[in-house]
Amino acid sequence: MNRGAAALHRLSIGLFALICLALAAAVILYRLSVDPVATWVERLDTTAVADGIGASWFTAVLVALILLALYWGWRLIRTTIAPQKPDELVLDGSDEQGTLTVPLKLVARAVREQLATQTILDHVQVQAIDDRGSKIVRITVQAHPERSYDELVDVLAPAVTDLKTAFDGSDVHVQTFIHLNPLH
């Protein structure tokens, strides 16, 4: 999950936590008659609040609350479902006259096809992700645990070399995850 999305979730949950804790503290301190909280709660005119909610001007408040809840809720769900959506990569040589871009998804597909020919790999997954501000081509391979890490690194090396050649000088990163099957 990206920093922005994580910050949104953390702030939202933090705000919710503070509201819950404030509510709990207010009720407990009011019931135990601890000042000044007890005095503040005593001053609340709940009848006036109910009357206000019934007033015609509350329609505008309702509309504002609906828009806020819809936007906030949609943002929270969307950033959970697609937390690392990759962007197109802008290549060196782009200027005012034109922009050279490469969709990272296509690069990921090409790498996956290249590694799929390696028989010692049981499974290959290549993703183009945007993780906390870094554009990453992430290669995840699954192999038998009888294979050593150095063997698997050797298998991955040509694909990584190709990526380096293609993205030399850019701020794209490559990350390889080596996962091993359970031992039978």
Binding site: A17, L21, V49, W72, W74, I178
Partner: protein, 195 residues
């Protein structure tokens, strides 16, 4: 079993493409799941408010739920069972605060010689178990990889030397956790069978 540890052609994994630093792979933040639930609650609340808006516009008959809730709240008198409400709010609030502040859990360890290659502790344990299982006399091996210690439990079907197991485990762990202490426990399956 193949255990050739050649490093030919692996120079590509010794350095990244981009010059900037990449954050360590971590698990989904705990706040993300709670955030998604909060998102659903907000959408449900928006649905209730839309219904109230339609009631106010005359498109739906009945009383607005927000107004009714506010009226009922203003006419409530305190009862002992209501202590449950602040207690529940405090528990939920503290749990949510912990989720909001909890740092992300790292999921992978970097390979010592290859900064762009990562593996999970469970994969390292599987690798060590596979290497140890290949030793003569070893019937089965189970490995637990901790932060500072690797524990290998061997079920022996013959004579197994503790030092051989420790050396084999250390070699298998070297690409990820060089120098990590290895603790070996050996169980004799023949003795267990006799017992």
């Amino acid at each position: 079993m193949t255990t050739t540890d050649s490093s030919e052609g692996s120079a590509a994994l010794r350095e990244d493409i981009g010059g900037s630093t990449v954050a360590r792979p971590t698990a989904f933040p705990g706040a993300a799941v709670a955030g998604a639930l909060l998102g659903l609650v907000l959408l449900a609340a928006a649905g209730v408010l839309i219904r109230d808006l339609l009631v106010r516009a005359g498109a739906v008959s009945g009383d607005t739920w927000t107004h009714r809730a506010a009226e009922q709240l203003s006419s409530q008198t305190w009862a002992d069972w209501m202590w449950v409400i602040p207690a529940a709010c405090a528990v939920v609030g503290l749990a949510a605060l912990w989720l909001a502040l909890k740092p992300r859990r790292p999921t992978h360890r970097r390979l010592a010689d290859y900064p762009v290659a990562w593996t999970r502790p469970v994969d390292l344990a599987r690798r060590i178990s596979a290497a140890v299982s290949d030793l003569p006399g070893v019937r089965d091996a189970v490995t637990v990889v901790g932060r500072r210690k690797i524990t290998v439990q061997v079920t022996a079907a013959g004579t197994v030397r503790r030092s051989d197991v420790a050396q084999c485990a250390a070699q298998a762990a070297a690409p990820v956790a060089p120098g990590t202490a290895v603790k070996v426990r050996i169980r004799d399956s023949r003795k267990e069978a006799r017992a």
